[in-house]
Amino acid sequence: MSTSLEEEELTPQPRGIVEQLVRDDVGRKKFLKAVGTTGAAGFGAFVLAACGSSSKKKTTTTPASPAATPSVPASFGKGDIGILNYALTLEYLEDQFYAKVIAAKLFTGAVGSLVAQFGQAEAEHVAAIHATILKLGGTPAAKPTGKFPITNAAEVARLAYAVENLGASAYLGQAASISSPAVLAAALSIHTVEARHAATLATLVPGGHVTPDGAFAKPADAAAVLAAVKPYIA
């Protein structure tokens, strides 16, 4: 538990709406299981391995080294363009998700305003990544058609929380594979915004945590992320 939106000046939301958000950990656990394949190992060992590789010593544990194999499926394209297309696909889904949530008018007041801002941010991510792919000479991935269970505020808040946590872990999972410093800077700049969204949504979800992974956020690889979003693509 952490910051509760309903207690703040920022959110003159009737308490009832937030209290309606019933706890159901199943969805979140499913997500965490899907994305939790990386990073669970002790961070100390991880960092030691990191430094070993930076000082050109051979290490046996290199969880975050750039893999010889592509970090995203070949269908997205090669190198940074492939990673950007993967990110674009996820952002398209987030953008569509928020558009539907906003259209459903499930949230009002300050929470509604925040949800609208988050949706706007995802739309900006889509536009920026799309433009960057074109500038790099790539072909932007086709827009997927999302299908989301927009049922009630409680369900939607929980899904949004899971989606944003997944997005943050997806960006973190790609950082080490990005070649261009500018593309990396862009990805980092988006990565922490997804994290901010997730932390905010945590306050709407019973059992939600500002930092669900503790002091060190876990990365997720493309296979885990794509498996997690598959049910939401028509």
Partner: protein, 207 residues
Amino acid sequence: MITDRLANPELAEFEVGGVTRASFILRGALAAGAVYGTAAVAPFVSSALGATTDIDILNFALTLEYLETDFYQVKGKTVGLTGLAKHDVTNFGAEEAAHVAALTSAIKAGGGTPVAKPTFSFPVSTASQFLDLAYVVENLGVSAYNGAGPSLKSKALLTAAGSIVQIEARHAAAIGLLIGKSPIPSGAFDQAKTKAEVLKVAGPLIK
């Protein structure tokens, strides 16, 4: 903030100075921002592409983590925090302490010498002032890591730094909500700051 940056082409040029590829992409991104009528991509820059070693960067990060840990775990106990604020500050302090430990061992493992813990001075005495400064410090941490990230040569360290900065961003958002400030003060794209820009804010807090 972002709009200020967009309205200031000189700044944009400065931030991509000397990096042809970055400049190329940034211009495209800025064009996209213009097309979409948003501040979409102003911070699509890497403002810290300097000749800095990974150990230097880790030590800089360690200094900031020492600052955050001391702020939460020492100062935080003196300002009369209650309820959720107290709960968050306790948790966040423990997480910053874990960052200190991880960075210290990383620096040692890389053959470097961790910086000594500085002495800090935080000009706050009430819970409200404390949380306002926490919001500033956490947002500063985000921009510091995001600024330094592209300069890290070790990809493994980059992921490690990413896993820390994501936590700073989460802290910043939660503190923002506590005090009625935006959890996303930079909109869709978090800003990156150079070491000098970070020190301008953090420096006065270090004795």
